[in-house]
């Protein structure tokens, strides 16, 4: 037989004060929230253009973009079949730490199953700055498409310590051969045929009149 009344799971009775507190908590946390105003009434009903400009300038000055250097980070981005781009930032070292120890940026193909082991690192770059960017050229004739990078530091005993490991970046597969354009439609059936990238006209990109479109 199914019970139709709700029975308390706990057998201990609740005091009036406890019930009042629970009721208040539930009310605070789960009270229906009215549908938020989507957007404020639009200009010029509320703020003048001068006021908008003033607020815009205050925010732009006071909250300009900056990197919050709280934890070590390295990010890897693909550019083309031959290049990836890395940026990183490391917190400033503790005063008594080995601040002069060498920093190394290592690039690994994803097949590398030993990212912390320097002997498996594919390419190493010594770096000087704790916050910087670098475009890395990939070796020719590799079949790797997925890479990640790591930042490590060598201590006084020449031990390498990994400080940060990047995301995995997938680089494009093929190089564009900068030769002969496609001569006819049939050639397009040849996989990896020699061809030109279909560029957009330079005049649409390099307009210098100062009021052109983006393309």
């Amino acid at each position: 037989m199914v019970s139709t009344s709700v029975k308390p799971i706990s057998s201990a009775p609740l005091s009036a004060a406890e019930m009042q507190r629970i009721s208040l908590e539930i009310n605070q946390d789960f009270a229906p929230v009215p549908c938020p105003d989507k957007l404020a009434p639009s200009y010029p009903d509320i703020l003048s253009s001068q006021e908008l400009l003033g607020i815009s300038q205050i925010i732009s000055t006071g909250f300009a973009p900056s990197i919050k250097n709280t934890s070590p980070e390295i990010v890897l981005m693909p550019i083309d079949p031959e290049h990836v781009h890395a940026y990183w930032h490391l917190p400033e070292p503790e005063p008594l730490s080995e601040s002069n120890s060498e920093l190394t940026l290592s690039l690994h193909p994803l097949a590398d199953t030993h990212p912390d082991d320097p002997k498996y690192a594919w390419l190493d770059f010594f770096i000087n700055n704790r916050q910087d960017q670098k475009t890395l050229t990939l070796p020719n004739n590799t079949n790797h498409q997925h890479y990640f990078a790591s930042l490590s530091q060598t201590d006084a005993r020449q031990q390498l310590h990994t400080l940060a490991t990047s995301n995995i970046a997938q680089v494009p597969q093929q190089e564009i051969h900068d030769v002969e354009p496609v001569m006819n439609t049939a050639q397009l059936f040849q996989p990896v045929a020699k061809r030109c990238a279909a560029h957009r006209p330079s005049s649409l990109i390099l307009n210098t009149s100062g009021q052109n479109f983006k393309h």
């Binding site: 404020a40 200009y43 908008l52 981005m77 093929q174 439609t185 307009n207 009021q211 479109f213 983006k214």
Partner: protein, 530 residues
């Protein structure tokens, strides 16, 4: 008997430029020029084709920033002011050139052009250009598709899947709110594809997207039909590849049609040619010379004196070029049909702003192409990619290759020495937005906090636009691009900070909502990572 298809795609996009904090703002002219020279002439083409009962299919992608700007009250008011100012300038030109018959004829041509623009914009469509495009969608001729929310360059935002998901979903939602139905296709900003994005496109119920040629040719496995049939990415989302032949005929600055000597010369404008006091009221600050749109000369040739533009001869040339274009597509189709087991589709995508702004005669060329393709005896017909997918439901399964349609074919135009500095900030802001959404998701959030968090998401999206790194690399209006990206990031930082500290200044928030009033239905909770 139609043996093949031609799919013409116009991608209409401009960055979100709207500055109510200024009484007037020069970069808003980008939109005004595009409305005058591209979108209204395009509507004229579509209206004439409808009047003549021409059967055609054309695809137009409308980016969310463009949709928003076209429907914006402030920009609509400012556009009317812009248009009246151009009518005034043209009237002055008619008067100034009254003793020079040939020039005077051209001045009258421009006066009529602007007057007609005003009639179409104000009287025929009551300032609502989107309704004009929707009308042609309803009539079955125009396929409308969407784009990512702020034209974000997806492969470089892909450090966070949530960032890409929001760019796609907000793009779809913006389209729905303006057009009233769900799009079937998407224009990936800059045709930038990376393997895996199809998963997010499928989540958004999109069926197809476009790629540059090498993205299809380098697919794995190799395509059986080159770029002349779509690839199924493995999850039912299809990739269509750009045909290089038809692309080159229109895009190429050397061999392309727009460089014909009879066409109007873009770079010779009275804003630069006339005495400063004549054009002062119509250029930047009355002192810095700029294009006005009134151009009296034709391309003429290289390193020779420019000759006067003749609209009649230019129109005739546009028709010749259209016939040539259709003829070459027929030849292509004849060759392709012998090799393929299904009808080939030739995909020809272009920036919509090429037609009319850069290539003044482009709309006439397009109209003639669509008219010629509609003739029953032709071996080709125009179609949209959704039509093709309906007709040929099975496609080869393959993973396309990462690619873009930009210079060099990959990501280097958007990631190089001129613009790489933006990515640490963009990625950091995205990460903070996601953490904020997660944290707020577990709390009771007040309406004010909700507004602030939604506005933070808007600021983040506006900072992510691919236009800013593009302009930085192109070196055109770099100061403006730098300012826009740093302003949006500063606005994000401010909102993030004040939400975290629970000290939201409603006046400041209202100011930011007023200035960046895009995506009214945004929900910050969508930034909770899946």
């Amino acid at each position: 008997m139609k043996t093949g298809y031609l799919s013409l795609i116009l991608h209409a996009h401009l960055p979100y430029v709207r500055h109510p904090e200024h009484e007037s703002f020069f970069e808003e002219n980008w939109l005004f020029e595009a409305i005058t020279e591209c979108y209204i002439p395009l509507i004229g083409v579509l209206d004439r084709l409808q009047d003549d009962q021409i059967d055609y299919r054309l695809t137009l992608s409308l980016s969310p920033p463009l949709l928003t700007m076209l429907r914006d009250d402030l920009l609509q008011q400012r556009y009317l002011k812009y248009l009246h100012s151009h009518i005034e300038l043209a009237e002055k030109e008619v008067f100034r050139t009254q003793k020079q018959a040939a020039l005077n004829e051209l001045a009258q041509f421009y006066l009529k052009f602007y007057q007609n623009t005003l009639t179409v914009y104000k009287d025929q469509y009551q300032g609502d250009i989107i309704s004009a495009f929707k009308k042609h969608h309803i009539s079955g001729q125009l396929e409308l598709i969407t784009c990512a929310a702020t034209h974000g360059f997806l492969p470089l935002l892909n450090i966070s899947e949530t960032a890409v998901r929001n760019q796609i979903n907000i793009g779809v939602n913006t389209f729905k709110s303006h057009l009233g139905y769900a799009p079937t296709g998407i224009w990936l900003p800059e045709c930038a594809y990376y393997p895996g994005v199809e998963k997010l496109l499928a989540e958004a119920e999109l069926q197809y997207f476009f790629m540059d040629t090498h993205g299809i040719l380098d697919a794995n496995p190799a395509p059986n039909n080159g770029v002349y049939a779509p690839l199924n990415c493995g999850n039912g989302v299809h990739a269509f590849g750009r045909d290089p032949d038809s692309s080159k005929q229109v895009w190429s600055s050397h061999e392309g049609y727009p460089g014909d000597f009879d066409y109007r010369e873009y770079y010779k404008d009275i804003g630069f040619d006339l005495e400063l006091d004549v054009v002062a009221p119509y250029i930047l600050d009355g002192t810095t010379r700029a294009n006005t749109g009134i151009k009296y000369y034709r391309i003429t040739g290289k390193d020779i004196e420019k000759q006067l533009y003749d609209p009649v001869i230019a129109t005739k040339k546009a028709k010749q070029h259209a016939a040539d274009f259709i003829n070459k597509r027929q030849q292509q189709i004849a060759a392709l049909t012998k090799k393929m087991d299904k009808a080939p589709i030739i995909v020809a995508p272009y920036d919509a702003e090429l037609f009319g702004h850069w290539w003044f005669e482009g709309p006439q060329w397009l109209e003639e192409v669509l008219r010629l393709a509609s003739v029953a005896e032709q071996s080709l017909a125009t179609n949209a990619c959704s039509d093709y997918l309906e007709q040929y439901s099975s496609a080869q399964v393959a993973t396309p290759a990462a690619s873009t349609w930009g210079d060099q074919g990959y990501y280097s135009y958007w990631l190089n020495d001129s613009n790489s500095w933006i990515y640490p900030y963009l990625h950091q802001a995205e990460s903070e937005m996601e953490q904020l959404a997660l944290d707020l998701n577990n709390l009771t959030v007040t309406p004010l906090q909700t507004r602030a968090a939604n506005q933070a998401a808007r600021s983040l999206l506006l900072a992510q636009a691919s236009d800013w790194p593009f302009i930085m690399k192109a070196g055109t209006t770099t100061e403006y691009a730098n300012k826009r990206i740093t302003d949006h990031l500063a606005r994000f930082n401010y909102l993030h900070d004040c939400i975290r500290k629970n000290r939201i200044n409603e006046r400041y928030l209202t100011a930011l909502e007023t200035m960046d009033n895009i995506f009214p239905d945004i929900d910050f909770k969508d930034y909770c990572p899946n």
